[in-house]
């Protein structure tokens, strides 16, 4: 239980910090860089290294390549949905999450499994 609480707090702090930086930057496209910051990764990898070692964390980072590639597709899809359709932001960003799952697992299954 203690491990979960530590993970929750560390993850929350890292994500909030990067989101805060993004929220005070202009222009918006530059601030958007921080929407793909390695906030969860930094928190998670730091905790994993301390508990399971470097090799285990490196294995996570290997799969993260597929997750990050899926995030690229996710962002591109969100832009298309918002600019080309009359889709609302919440609907577009939530629908794209389904696509993130598909792309991430497809890349991982095809190249990294």
């Amino acid at each position: 239980m203690g491990d979960i609480v530590i993970r929750f707090v560390v993850g929350g702090v890292f994500v909030s910090a990067f989101a805060l930086i993004g929220s005070v930057l202009k222009p918006k496209s530059f601030a958007g860089l921080f929407g793909a910051a390695p906030s969860v990764a930094l928190a998670s990898l730091a905790l994993t290294i301390s508990k399971d070692g470097n090799a285990y964390a490196a294995a996570e980072a290997r799969s993260m390549i597929a997750g990050a590639a899926a995030l690229l597709v996710y962002c591109a899809l969100v832009i298309v949905l918002l600019k080309r359709t009359r889709c609302h932001t919440l609907a577009a960003t939530l629908f794209a999450v389904v696509v993130w799952f598909g792309v991430a697992f497809a890349i991982w299954g095809a190249l990294l499994k």
Binding site: V15, A36, A43, L47, R62, T93
Partner: protein, 154 residues
Amino acid sequence: MGIKFHLDALKTTKWWEHLIRFVFGGAITVIAGIIAKKYGPGVGGLFLAFPAIFPASATMLERHEQEEKEEKGVAPGRRGCDAAALDARGATMGSIALILFAALVWRLLPNHSAWIVVEAGVLWLAVSVALWLLRKYRHRLVGSFWHDSSSNIS
């Protein structure tokens, strides 16, 4: 428009918006850890790049943009969605740098100290900013390249 710090944005951010980001960030870090424990680091690692707070952040940005326009007496129209799309455009460049971050940690971490993760984070920032600048000034860069080339030919 150059890169600027806009600290006034902090005043318009509600406390519960910070809380939502904290909770979503904490939750995905816990979930990634649980999945890694149950299904192995291969599956768990995917979630290190999960867009956990993206929907919430984009929706908040849309709302802020709409409120700002309404305060100025301008009909918001699709401006909120346009702002969210601009934010996503930045995130595409951040994602490319994130792929590089993950690849670097994967290749170097087994033979280096944990600090390599922090160094990869700095590299993420440098590559993200470089990509953003390249995109912003691409016309100027291409223009000067053509100008220089034609000068050399003549």
